[in-house]
Symmetry: C2
Subunit: 368 residues, 2 copies
């Protein structure tokens, strides 16, 4: 650690049990934003509603001189202009992306970081060049085990000055649906989503989807940089190495019914039949089932899933018909995927608040 | 007040002196978002970076059956389809828009509402039909004093179920630059910015710019609805009527220099010459001067304003050259407009946290 940075860049910590949200957390919440849950109505999230999490500042690329560099253990190191990438065969993939810290601020005790409730998600169609095509053009060295992706965003985190940088195993990097994306929903990437180029790794949490990509280095030893070995590890104690955060855990969200109270965001409905709806996804296997509870997780009933759309990396819609009766209710939804993964009703916990897929609960007041 | 709503919809309040940010405030911060301050670099804020404040839910219009109704004291009540509005002569206006609650969470004591720091701003080009043309087509009754604008967003606020609705004096409504806007930066309005139609009242805080507009009613008595007489009033005591919140108070923001620490958002720079930059605006008169302090508001020096662009409702850029020296610094910027309005160095306070234009301070750590 740079000792001069210690005073302004503190170690990770967990909030005390009585501690409400701090101004450091609020400063992150004011910049980054989730997807308002009523946007669960859209198959594709409009770009300004898709969640964003920016570690440092949004970079300002000099687009005329911009190049992607491919370096390290390649047969022919190369650079690519945006036009060169655009002339290569492209592919479009619909992807549900979620922040690894989604749900963090609901944990007890609360890990202190970006204070997500449950909105850190969005679905978009990303268009770009398959990464494997670019790597094949450069020639992958025989001993390569990982690709290291460097973004242009630059800042300090826990005392370490850095460009945002992540390593990814070569087997993952060579999956056919992994893209170097230059379009989001058919338009150039917005600044906050990585303009001009970002990595898309369908099924993984957002930390893998390196934005403002400027370099890919192929390496023959495991990458030990900050974002892989310090951040984005599930740890229960600060001194253990922890497990790497990788693919998105199965989750369902409820499009909140009725209308909100402005301040409490409590949902208010009137008695009678009500169609509940939402979306469910998993980065590990297709979602095969969603169950809904209207009595605070005491009993569950199966929801109807929409027909599979063929977009295997995107969320599925579900619906559930409910008869609202006067009084207070707690709705909940719980998804299960084809590998048998399902969501916990009681929180699992780690110090970073990562991959927390606790069932989504929505408090509803039904008027008389 | 609907007594059945009392339990879920509480009166306005001010936080206790020791009270950190609550989960109700955080729920608003996770949905709504400010403009990351590095976006002060753009003349026009990309839509997904422009601030948004949505009182209830983003409505989902049935666009085929959508109509704008003009009712009340008009000679001929009328409805307009979106196509009909699009065929009328249009006008484009560049507007800096700011939330009336910008800066609220920095006040002591803190009004409990959307907990903005300073990012609740953005600048866009809005295209639409001048409101006066639509009103002229319907014929304004001789005794009309206000126009009342109703949006499609529906919810509960302090116990009152309502559509979002605001009254505006006829003199303001007939200003030539007041628009019924259907485009933002040349594209259809994004859902969160009022699709398909919103009111644009250049110079006023965001609460006047009614989104998802569905009805305009001309009236011959002052509108006494919730958003004009209960909310959006500057009060020091809860029982006084207070002053209506109207035009945007003069303000400058600083594009934070150097790089951030992820968690504290403290800015870190290296010693040497540094060009500071930012934007300044006022809804009352053109900005004529920006002063910068690099010693925590003890001394001030005048910044360079860019040449006036002719966009009189939009912000102006300013620059200021600074020599950073090792140690901690507090930068500040203070704008003044042609009417002699300037920003306070010490907070003015009201219970809603409205129109708070305290000077913007940025803490900078300069490395050795």
């Amino acid at each position: 650690m740079n000792t001069q940075l210690r005073g302004v860049s503190l170690p990770a910590r967990v909030a005390a049990s009585t501690e409400e949200v701090g101004f450091d957390e609020l400063a992150l919440a004011a910049r980054n934003h989730g997807m308002p849950l009523e946007a669960l109505r859209y198959d594709l999230t409009p770009p300004g509603l898709h969640y964003t999490l920016i570690h440092y500042d949004i970079p300002q690329p000099d687009i005329r001189n911009w190049r992607l560099s491919v370096t390290g253990r390649v047969k022919e190191p190369a650079t690519f202009s945006l036009d060169e990438l655009r002339t290569m065969p492209s592919r479009t993939v619909r992807v549900t992306m979620e922040c690894a810290g989604n749900g963090r601020a609901l944990l007890r005790p609360r890990p202190v970081s970006q204070p997500w409730l449950v909105e850190a998600v969005g679905t978009a169609e990303w268009t770009g060049v398959p990464l494997r095509a670019v790597l094949a053009e450069c020639g992958i060295g025989h001993d390569v085990i990982e690709a290291v992706f460097t973004g242009a965003d630059h800042g300090v985190e826990r005392g370490v000055e850095q460009d945002y940088r992540r390593g990814l195993a070569l087997d993952e990097a060579r999956r056919e649906e992994v893209l170097l994306a230059y379009q989001m929903n058919g338009a150039p990437l917005p600044p906050q989503h990585g303009y001009p180029l970002r990595l898309i790794v369908p099924g993984w949490y957002g930390m893998a989807q390196v934005k403002w990509l400027r370099e890919i280095e192929l390496v023959n030893s495991p990458f030990t940089g900050f974002q892989n070995t310090v951040a984005y590890r599930a740890r229960r104690r600060p001194d253990e190495p922890g497990e790497p955060v990788t693919r998105i855990a199965v989750r369902a969200l409820i499009n909140p019914p009725g209308m909100p109270d402005f301040m409490s965001r409590t949902r208010i409905v009137r008695p009678g039949p009500l169609r509940l709806a939402g979306r469910a996804w998993s980065g590990r296997a297709p979602v095969t089932r969603v169950d809904v509870s209207t009595d605070g997780c005491r009993t569950w009933a199966e929801a109807d899933l929409d027909i599979a759309t063929g977009h295997v990396w995107a969320w599925r819609e579900w619906i559930f018909d409910w008869e609202a009766t006067p009084g207070d209710h707690v709705l909940a939804a719980r998804a299960t995927d084809a590998d048998g993964n399902t969501q916990p009703v009681h929180q699992a916990w780690n110090r970073g608040g990562f991959a927390n897929n606790l069932v989504h609960r929505v408090h509803v007041a039904c008027l008389p």
